[in-house]
């Protein structure tokens, strides 16, 4: 049995810190962050929750179908029925945070765990766009993270039903239409032309 003081050391190793970082990085931190951990490197815990919105009214549906993934699978975590999650054993530095869900789309988040001047750990989380640089200028998200689904995937393409317009926009139908015009309308136009002009035109073409 270790002394209680040692417990707080372990507490640091296991879980951690992590604080509400407002835009200024000025953050309250877990006092345990100051303790040193012998042997193992310090690791940190990231907490957050998936919040309900119109797209995803009940985060409980994610409990058995989605996972939290950090750094493309280096760390994974399950999501509780109320949407809460915690990712353990993260190390200092930058990480990519994603929610891997089969049916819902979530924003990707850049997580930056750093130590401030007092040696306390702080987490800065920012939305990122795939393919874009990770800018430090983007607004920092409140901590613990609160993430909402951005879309529910619609996997299907509806079949186009019968439509008169699409039928007539078919090239074959247009060709048929043109033929009909040639057969029925042109003779009528010809009939309306003054016979004298017609003779003249015939002569011209013959000439």
């Amino acid at each position: 049995m270790r002394a209680p003081a040692t417990w707080s050391m372990l507490a640091l190793v296991q879980s951690l810190i992590v604080l509400l970082l407002a835009l200024t990085f000025a953050s309250a931190t877990d006092p345990a962050a100051n303790a040193d951990s012998p042997g193992s490197p310090k690791t940190y815990r990231l907490r957050g929750a998936i919040t309900a919105n119109d797209i995803l009214p009940d985060p409980a549906v994610l409990a058995t179908t989605a996972r939290v993934q950090v750094n493309g699978g280096e760390h994974t975590a399950f999501i509780q029925p109320d949407g809460a999650f915690s990712v353990d054993n993260l190390s200092l530095g930058h990480s990519l945070f994603e929610i891997a869900s089969a049916n819902y789309s979530f924003p990707k988040i850049h997580i930056h765990i750093s130590l401030n001047e007092q040696g306390r750990a702080a987490i800065a989380a920012r939305y990122v766009q795939p393919g874009a640089d990770w800018s430090e200028d983007a607004p920092v998200l409140p901590y613990p993270l609160r993430i909402a689904a951005t879309a529910k995937y619609d996997f299907y393409t509806p079949r186009q039903g019968f439509s008169i317009i699409s039928m007539f926009s078919n090239p074959y139908m247009m060709m048929v239409g043109a033929s009909l015009v040639a057969v029925f309308l042109l003779p009528k136009l010809q009939a309306n032309i003054d016979p004298e002009i017609l003779d003249e035109m015939n002569k011209k073409t013959k000439g």
């Binding site: 049995m1 029925p81 353990d88 530095g93 891997a100 766009q129």
Partner: protein, 1044 residues
């Protein structure tokens, strides 16, 4: 004229643009979902199944599996109620279910303790222990503390007490790496942690170690060792827990007929019990040494005052099983036999116990033992307190399909007992009294699939042809006769179609059971009466033959997934691990010889290579052959470009090293005719070889045929293999180790040798069948330098064709490297760290992290219309390819890569990603074109159909082939062409199975489902009627005009 040309160019570019757009816009129609695809959710082979009664009526079955999945199964149907798939390296070591909560302990050094809601599968709370340098392999155990929501667990190198909601343990006891602790035994105020002590120089013998800890304070009361020669998990050790008497360990030394009983926490008393006294039968010592013990209940909440266990032993060569109950009065300990039964000719495969309800308050509730005998059929009996079984049943089952029964569990549904048997091949079947058919079964063998091959099935033969073949096969020799017969059959079909009301009341062809067969009963589905031997006209229905590491070879229809046959392969009773499946003889029209599959694997007994040749249609061994164990262990297997003319069988090459490290190429079949066929191939066979991941070089070999005919003739007698001479050695640069090598998957067909550019010039593709892409890991975590090297080499000469380095790339088991070659394109994906991975740099750099997909296109030259003019491609004429590359940001982490395949490769290809979010995403080939301009496209580029470059590959939901199916753990993606050029079959497997078909360029060669044949007929008829009616009218008008 010039205007005409530009117009035609515009027209061409428009067509291409429309073509590419339509390709990008293609998606799945709602009515196709579930009709053109099928999904089978799997969990893996259960390592433990726990029945749990929620209340008087509701029972649940909870399983942890060797595919790291926790699942709740419906006791009535076996369907998955919910499942949670853990990480690939997170073995689940413990499962307890109590008070509507399921407790799991998973992982190795990084240990996770999680408590789940048993009804919904939601995570209630969890605790994670970071890696510990002192961790001893195999450690890990967890138990609920009685009358509390707390959990006691061995995590890493510590024993902890955890309470819900707290982020730190209530207390933690460091175990100091003295043993691999595998068991926790809880009493009211004490926890005993039992493990296998670490062998020391002084005491190298295995023994058990106990740490006794106070449950409240976490203080260590004592630490001691006992039971020399014993391990915690052994069939000669049982743990017994009694509310009244405390906790005991019973064991028998390996060559001893005495049973020892130890009361945990006390060095004295310790008892010795003689075998004969225990079973109250005189036995020969030799028979006593055969005895084994099984625990029948490991849930402390269920423990009775008089704990029980099962013992089996041999008497007169027959297996006897007894149920033993423990009593203690004062210092005396007594074991009483409560039930005993004899198995005449069979083995007790397993046993289990359960009360009709989990009634912790009533520890004396009736308890039952299930005995399963598995000789030819499975017969089972449930015993409570007497020799007479309370329930019995039989199950007609063949061990050749899923292997022998290895365990059994008893549970109750509505008070009725059910027996769950599990086989080593991965079958889980629920049996009920009085029925020889299972109530339900789950085939989990394919969750261990390692390889898969598609077998083309012959198109349906017309009944007229079939009749003709049956009566006089020679009739079908003439194509004219066959043509006439086919016409006759078509005429018959038209008549039957008309008489059936123009198909108004008939189902669509796809709707007639996706498998094309009528619905089967459970027993028929388990062992199909007739295998699937006929395909369809479009090539959609093929057989997919799977090889698994659990020893099962199974053939499934690609339509609907109906099982055609299953074969369990074992060497000396132990399942072999199958690595490769090859179709070595295809279905040939008008041929009487059956198609064959050759499976290659390894024996788990000797580690040597095993080969089996099976009839691909029935799964029977071909031509009375049997499983062959070769005298070597192969390093590589591949298809040889030769066919044994004697039996028309494709040859398989097996590369191995002899004890002198000489490399050889063995061939299969290893016959003289096969050897001659092999040596008759004009082109020599080259292959590359490495020592697997981590090796530092790659070598190229060439198989050498004997110089003379006579030597070749003697080949069969000596049954040796061909020598392989080393041609080249490709040493990796200092500090680099191999990750993987990627070659072409089967024969490649190419429709276009070049790529037509916008100005009508052609860029010729570099098509080298011997291209191998080698990926290496650069540096290691210790130095902090990370990266991967990519080398494209020629397998024949070993010459380096192209190389590149990706700094800061990181490859681990959790962040895998994936690669695929298709035509002249190499695609690979890796995790990009964004900065050098030193802790300091990692902390201070903010470069983007994510998965990167790199595409490299190989062309013969960078100049259009320039190509190698030699008539045949030769690796010796070293022409370095011109490589165009581009990198893209992958939309999501992927676990598998594949490419669609069509018959002639005229349709465009889709690149298929198996995503970690359980989706199968198919993206068009054009998206990966490295020639996509990184600025506004010029007219020529537009004409070529190039879309301006954008780094992110978007996840377009319309391109998710798996739609609403969550296809978990995709590890492999395979594709096969169909008879329609537009359409490719796509199969994804790993944990789940998912099959679908896709048309990357649209279904240009199929009628749309909305096309109405009835309308066509009605319109034609209407026109005919119009002509008939209009004809006389016109004639009359003309006549009248003539008279006028």
């Amino acid at each position: 004229m010039l205007g005409g040309v530009s117009l035609s160019k515009v027209a061409l570019s428009l067509t291409l643009a429309i073509g590419s757009l339509s390709s990008f816009a293609h998606g799945l129609f709602p009515d196709e979902a579930g009709r053109i695809d099928w999904h089978r959710a799997q969990i893996g082979r259960p390592t433990k199944i726990v029945p749990y009664a929620f209340n008087e009526t509701d029972t649940g079955l909870f399983a942890i599996t060797d595919r790291n999945t926790l699942a709740s199964l419906s006791p009535a149907s076996g369907k998955i109620v919910w499942r949670q798939t853990f990480g690939s390296d997170e073995t689940i070591k413990a499962l307890r279910v109590r008070d509507g909560r399921a407790l799991t302990l998973s992982g190795a050094n990084e240990t996770h303790v999680r408590v789940w809601d048993a009804a919904s599968g939601g995570l209630v709370w969890g605790f994670s222990q970071p890696p510990d340098a002192n961790y001893r392999r195999g450690s890990g155990a967890a138990e609920f503390v009685e009358k509390s929501e707390d959990v006691v667990a061995v995590v890493g190198d510590s024993l902890v007490r955890l309470t819900p909601g707290a982020t730190v343990p209530v207390w933690e006891v460091p175990l100091n790496a003295t043993a691999a602790y595998k068991r926790i035994v809880l009493e009211d105020k004490t926890a005993f942690v039992v493990g296998d002590a670490r062998p020391t120089k002084k005491n190298p013998k295995p023994r058990m170690q106990v740490v006794e800890v106070d449950l409240e304070s976490g203080s260590v009361k004592q630490k001691y060792q006992f039971a020399g020669g014993q391990a915690v998990r052994s069939n000669r050790v049982v743990f017994l827990q009694s509310r009244e008497y405390g906790s005991y360990v019973v064991w028998r030394d390996e060559k001893n007929i005495v049973w020892f009983v130890h009361r945990l926490g006390m060095s004295d008393p310790e008892w010795e019990i003689y075998h004969a006294k225990l079973v109250q039968v005189e036995l020969m010592p030799a028979d006593m040494l055969t005895s084994t013990m099984y625990e029948i209940d490991t849930d402390p909440a269920l423990n009775a005052n008089h704990p029980r266990f099962i013992m089996t032993y041999l008497k007169d060569d027959k297996i006897k099983t007894i149920v033993v109950e423990m009593y203690r009065s004062g210092d005396k300990l007594e074991m009483r036999k409560v039930a005993g039964f004899r198995s005449d000719d069979a083995v007790v495969a397993g046993c289990g116990i359960s009360a009709p309800k989990n009634d912790a308050a009533n520890p004396n509730a009736p308890r039952a033992v299930v005995s399963v005998r598995a000789s030819d059929d499975v017969s089972w009996r449930v015993y409570t307190d007497s020799k007479t079984p309370t329930h019995t049943g039989d199950f007609v089952y063949s061990k050749d399909t899923y292997g022998p029964v290895r365990s059994a569990t008893l549970y109750h549904v509505g008070g009725e007992p059910r027996v769950l048997v599990q086989t080593s091949g991965g079958l889980v079947a629920a049996l009920a009294p009085g029925s020889s058919e299972p109530l339900w079964f789950r085939d989990e063998s394919l969750s261990h699939a390692t390889d898969m091959a598609f077998l083309e099935l012959p198109p349906p033969v017309s009944s007229a042809e079939y009749a003709a073949k049956a009566t006089d096969p020679s009739v079908l020799g003439s194509p004219v006769t066959r043509y006439i017969l086919r016409w006759a059959e078509s005429a018959k079909s038209i008549v039957s179609w008309v008489t059936s009301g123009f198909g108004f009341f008939a189902n669509s062809p796809d709707a007639v059971g996706a498998s094309g067969q009528a619905a089967r009963t459970v027993a028929e589905e388990l062992v199909p009466a007739s295998p699937i031997v006929v395909g369809d006209h479009f090539g959609f229905r093929k057989l997919s033959v799977f090889g698994t590491s659990s020893g099962v070879v199974a053939a499934l229809s690609t339509q609907g997934g109906s099982r055609s046959w299953t074969r369990f392969l074992a060497d000396n009773g132990t399942a072999v691990s199958i690595d490769n499946v090859f179709v070595t003889r295809r279905n040939q029209p008008m041929s009487t010889s059956a198609p064959l599959v050759t499976v290659v694997g390894r024996s788990r007994v000797s580690g040597n290579t095993v080969v089996a040749v099976l009839n691909a249609l029935t799964g029977e061994f071909a031509d009375d052959s049997e499983l062959t164990v070769l005298p070597y262990s192969h390093a590589k297997v591949f298809e040889l470009p030769a066919v044994d003319t004697l039996n028309n069988q494709q040859l398989i090459g097996l590369v191995y090293r002899d004890p002198e490290s000489q490399t050889h190429l063995g061939i299969w079949p290893s016959t003289a005719s096969a050897a001659k066929a092999f040596c008759a191939v004009t082109e020599p066979v080259f292959f590359d070889l490495n020592d697997g991941a981590g090796s530092t070089d790659l070598r190229g070999f060439r198989a050498e045929c004997p110089a003379s005919e006579a030597e070749l003739d003697s080949w069969a007698e000596s049954s040796s293999s061909f020598a392989a001479s080393e041609q080249w050695k490709f040493g990796l640069p200092e500090g680099e180790t191999l990750i993987s090598t990627t070659g072409y998957d089967g024969a490649q067909s190419t429709a276009l040798l070049g790529r037509v550019l916008g100005d009508r010039s052609v860029l010729y593709k570099y098509l080298n069948p011997h291209l191998v892409t080698v990926a290496t890991r650069i540096g290691d975590d210790e130095t902090g330098s990370r990266g991967i090297g990519i080398y494209m080499i020629d397998r024949v000469t070993g010459s380096l064709l192209y190389s590149t380095v990706h700094a800061n790339a990181h490859v681990t088991k959790k962040q895998p490297f994936l690669a695929i070659q298709s035509e002249n394109r190499v695609i690979y994906q890796f995790w990009q760290e964004g900065s050098p991975a030193t802790a300091e740099a990692k902390a201070h750099s903010s470069a983007v992290r994510g998965y990167v997909t790199v595409v490299a296109d190989l062309y013969e030259s960078d100049k259009p219309d320039t190509r190698d003019e030699s008539r045949a491609f030769s690796s010796y004429d070293l022409v370095l390819p011109h490589v165009v590359t581009a990198a893209f940001v992958a939309p999501e982490p992927a676990s598998a890569l594949g490419v669609t395949r069509t018959g002639s490769n005229i349709s465009t290809r889709d690149v298929v990603f198996g995503l970690a979010s359980s989706k199968l995403l198919s993206l068009p080939d054009q998206m990966f074109d490295p020639r996509r301009p990184k600025r506004a496209a010029t007219k020529d580029e537009q004409a070529e159909g190039l879309v301006p470059y954008a780094a992110p590959l978007a996840l377009d939901p319309k391109r998710v082939l798996s739609h609403y199916n969550a296809v978990a753990g995709i590890a492999h993606i395979r594709a096969a062409p169909t008879h329609l050029e537009s359409t490719s079959l796509v199969a994804a497997y790993g944990l789940d199975l998912f099959f679908t078909r896709t048309s990357p360029s649209g279904t240009f060669d199929q009628l749309s489902p909305s096309f109405s044949k009835v309308n066509l007929v009605v319109t034609t008829l209407a026109l005919a009627v119009g002509c008939l009616l209009g004809g006389p009218m016109v004639r009359r008008k003309l006549t009248n005009q003539a008279w006028a």
